[in-house]
Amino acid sequence: MNYMPGTAKKHLVLLRDGRTLIGYLRSIDQFANLVLHQTVERIHVGKKYGDIPRGIFVVRGENVVLLGEIDLEKESDTPLQQVSIEEILEEQRVEQQAKQESEKLKVQALKERGLSVPRADTLDEY
């Protein structure tokens, strides 16, 4: 329940752009601006994940989706498999590509039927 920074407490932050950051939350303010220390960006692809060390992050509150405390004991107790950074980035790239392919096919199919789905980037977020 207490999400405040404290001793030996790791936090997980999910950002609006989909990034997952894990680090020691050092400071927070009323706007949920965060100061993360020894942050690691964790990329998940399937059952694998990779960590990229990023150092210190100062995150503007409006970009935070959620913030949670990590139970340090349960942290290692995960079915996910950690891989190297290169590997995970490769996996991510592959996944993105596959998604793009399927998206293209979808759009094509819709176009043939006379429907058009607005592209996400030309659409407002809300």
Binding site: M4, P5, G6, T7, A8, K10, Y24, R26, S27, I28, D29, Q30, V35, H37, Q38, T39, V40, D51, P53, R54, G55, I56, L72
Partner: protein, 723 residues
């Protein structure tokens, strides 16, 4: 040039003394400056005086002096420098812990003011001014600490030839210049340039940049200002030597760094304005990765500094350390002492539970404050209206009830939300409320009259325009506000205990009456419909909503009057509603209302629908069949009539009621059968007893025909039908 101005100011200050300022920041400076004497007295004398004058906080410094014994020329300067360091540290530590000790320390300022003539500028005083502000704001902090620099600068400044100052920077070694400017800046009070420097050095990166050139020569800062170049050079060597041979770089650096570390802004100030002037300073723009904690082996601290510097210093203190808040820095130095040099720890490694220097980075006070701010947002005046409050407590109670059932524990009281007490800000009654000022200031107060001027302009223009519709809209707005108040009263009434309910009821009926009056309903008037204000209100969607919401609150006769009016003007309303199609909004409340009418009233209403219209051949009835609302209303009326007839309650009809009723039914049936199926609209709700109604009066064939038309569900059994 700016430097010339600065230097002149400095000169003036030193010569003529400073005015006593009331500001805290300057208290220290004022203490220090008047004490300076241009002459550098014999070091022994100085020291003695220093010893006398040093406060309790500088005991260490005293000890050091004594330890070192009788100082010689340069040695003396060194000592003083060291002493200064210690004093600085003392001060710094005092600041750090001294948030609550302002009162304690203030009186100590006094003793130091006296020995002006004896004061040696080079000797640091244990200046203790109000630390609170400074300790919390690094920028402010520096200006106070910066006064310490004055000690150094004094004698040199005076002796200095302005020409020296204005000489081409290039001719002076960069480190010299750095010092000068730093001292200059520090001596100024309240140094506008320094302050500006403080202010614009917002970004840590900038500070990083600033830090790096400065850090190249931290040791030099420790020394007395360079205006005596020989002395400087002399001093340079011992310190250099010291740093060169000491494997533990940290110690001298530690001494040096507190000076300018706490001196953050002043330190920043120095390099930043200098950069354009000192070509010798290596280009700072190198993004400094801030690694406060254990650094990965890939980062060599010396990388932070220019190559030229690293040869000399090789400080282990990263440049960013100078930008640390003294508290942070203290933690860091603590850590450094414990942990030693850079450790190769991967970012993922957990902090050992014992040593996590940043764990207290956010004080509990700050945490509480953030929580308090969040709690304040939870406060609301009207808890009943607050959706989040209500849902939260419902959920909580439900959860507890579940737990109770499962665990069989005693009933726990749901914890009450305790929000911090916030005094409600006195609301200022506006002078003018401006309607129709969408997106602009809608309230003109005497604090901000100008802002509303544009809005007023627009509002006036609108008023003048005044079309029917607009006027109707205005009225609806006003009435809606009143209605909302009524509903508020209703809500309060439902929550209030039994005794208070009548008074609420009274209040409510008064308010309702007011609204009703305002609506100016003239039932069954033959006036021009365009003139009828109530009808105009009804033409607007919002007006219909208003009426629909108002109906449940109205007294019986009032509601009936509305029903009559609507039915009377039904064709008009239907015509007006063709685009909007918002009449169905009224159906619900009207239906309920119809269900409560008496038979006679019902007949009266139905008469409205069956009376012939002057303009058209069609009956309102027929027109109603083609309108969803109309047909629904009609069915509702008929259904209610049937219900009344088939029930056992005495109807108390007026004379001629029954005939009218029968006539109406026949008429409806006839119209229904005549109207083509395509133009017959499906009603909002089809009452089930209509067919039985028709059964009473009509023959089987017709009934079948109507059944098909109306798409009613067939009657349960024909045998059961009376006809």
């Amino acid at each position: 040039m700016a430097e010339e101005d600065e230097e002149l100011d400095l000169y003036n200050e030193m010569t003529f003394g400073l005015d006593r300022d009331s500001t805290e920041e300057n208290a220290a400076k004022t203490l220090v400056l008047p004490e300076k004497s241009p002459e550098l007295a014999a070091v022994g004398v100085e020291e003695a005086q220093a010893v006398e004058q040093l406060g309790p906080g500088a005991d260490e410094g005293q000890l050091l002096l004594e330890e070192l014994g009788e100082p010689q020329g340069e040695g003396g300067m060194e000592l003083e420098a060291e002493q200064v360091d210690y004093v600085e540290e003392e001060e710094e530590e005092e600041e750090l812990g001294a948030e609550e000790q302002e009162e304690e320390q203030e009186p100590e300022e006094e003793p130091y003011e006296e020995p002006n003539d004896l004061g040696d500028p080079a000797v640091m005083r244990a200046v203790q001014s109000k630390p609170t502000l400074e300790s919390q704001d690094s920028a402010v902090l520096d200006s106070r600490i910066g006064s310490a620099w004055a000690e150094f600068g004094k004698e040199d400044m005076l002796a200095m030839d302005p020409a020296v100052w204005s000489s081409c920077p290039g001719s002076i070694p960069p480190h010299h210049m750095l010092e000068d400017k730093a001292i200059l800046q520090v001596l100024e009070r309240p140094p506008p340039s320094a302050n500006m420097a403080l202010d614009f050095l917002g970004s840590p990166v900038q500070r990083g940049y600033a830090g790096s050139p400065r850090l190249k020569h931290p040791d030099f800062r420790v020394m007395s200002p360079k205006s005596f170049p020989q002395r400087f050079l002399r001093q340079q060597s011992p310190l250099m030597a010291r740093s060169a041979c000491s494997p533990r770089h940290f110690t001298p650096a530690r001494r040096a760094s507190p000076l300018f570390a706490s001196n953050q802004a002043a330190g920043f100030a120095s390099p930043a304005p200098f950069r354009p002037m000192s070509p010798n300073i290596s280009t700072p723009p190198r993004p400094l990765a801030m690694h406060f904690g254990p650094m990965s082996p890939s980062l060599d601290p010396s990388l932070f500094f220019s190559p030229s510097a690293s040869g000399q210093l090789n400080l282990s203190v990263p440049s960013h350390m100078t930008q640390l808040h003294p508290q942070h820095q203290r933690i860091l130095t603590q850590r450094q002492q414990q942990g030693g040099q850079a450790q190769s720890i991967s970012p993922k490694k957990m902090w050992s539970p014992k040593v996590d220097p940043y764990a207290r980075l956010m004080t509990s006070k700050e945490k509480d404050w953030v929580i308090k701010v969040q709690m304040i947002q939870l406060q609301s005046e009207n808890m009943d209206d607050d959706y989040y409050y209500q849902t939260y407590y419902h959920r909580l109670e439900r959860k507890q009830a579940e737990e109770e059932l499962l665990g069989g524990r005693n009933k726990q009281e749901p914890p009450k939300l305790v929000t911090p007490f916030i005094q409600k800000v006195e609301t200022y009654d506006s002078v003018v409320r401006i309607a129709g000022s969408l997106g602009q200031v809608a309230v003109s107060t005497c604090y901000s009259p100008r802002r509303a001027i544009d809005a007023v302009h627009h509002a006036l223009v609108e008023e003048a325009a005044g079309s029917h519709r607009l006027r109707a809209l205005h009225r609806i707005e006003r009435l809606f506000l009143q209605l909302l108040e009524v509903e508020e009263t209703q809500r309060k009434m439902s929550l209030a205990p039994e005794e208070e309910q009548p008074c609420f009821q009274e209040q409510k009926s008064q308010e309702v009456g007011r609204i009703y009056q305002a609506l100016k309903i003239r039932a069954c008037s033959s006036e021009e419909e365009a003139e009828d204000e109530f009808l105009q209100v009804l033409c607007v969607r919002k007006g219909k909503k208003l009426t629909a919401r108002l109906l449940p609150h109205l007294a019986e006769e009032q509601a009936e009057k509305i029903l009559l009016t609507i039915t009377h003007h039904l064709p008009f309303l239907m015509k007006k509603d063709m685009l909007d199609e918002s009449l169905p909004l009224l159906y619900g409340p009207l239906n309920e209302m119809v269900g409560r009418t008496t038979f006679s009233k019902l007949i009266e209403v139905l008469q409205e629908m069956t009376r012939p219209l002057p303009e058209s051949a069609e009956l309102p009835l027929t027109m109603a069949l083609k309108n969803q609302f109309g047909i629904s209303l009609l069915y509702s009326l008929l259904s209610h009539g049937e219900k009344l007839l088939s029930s056992d309650t005495p109807l108390e009809p007026h004379s001629g009621d029954f005939e009218k009723w029968t006539d109406t039914v026949f008429l409806v049936a006839r119209e229904l059968s005549q109207v083509p199926k395509t133009s017959l609209v499906e009603p909002l709700f089809l009452p089930s007893n209509l067919l039985s109604l028709f059964c009473r009066y009509l023959d089987k064939q017709t009934i079948h025909h109507l059944e098909a038309k109306m798409e009613c569900s067939p009657l349960p059994s024909e045998a059961a039908m009376p006809c």
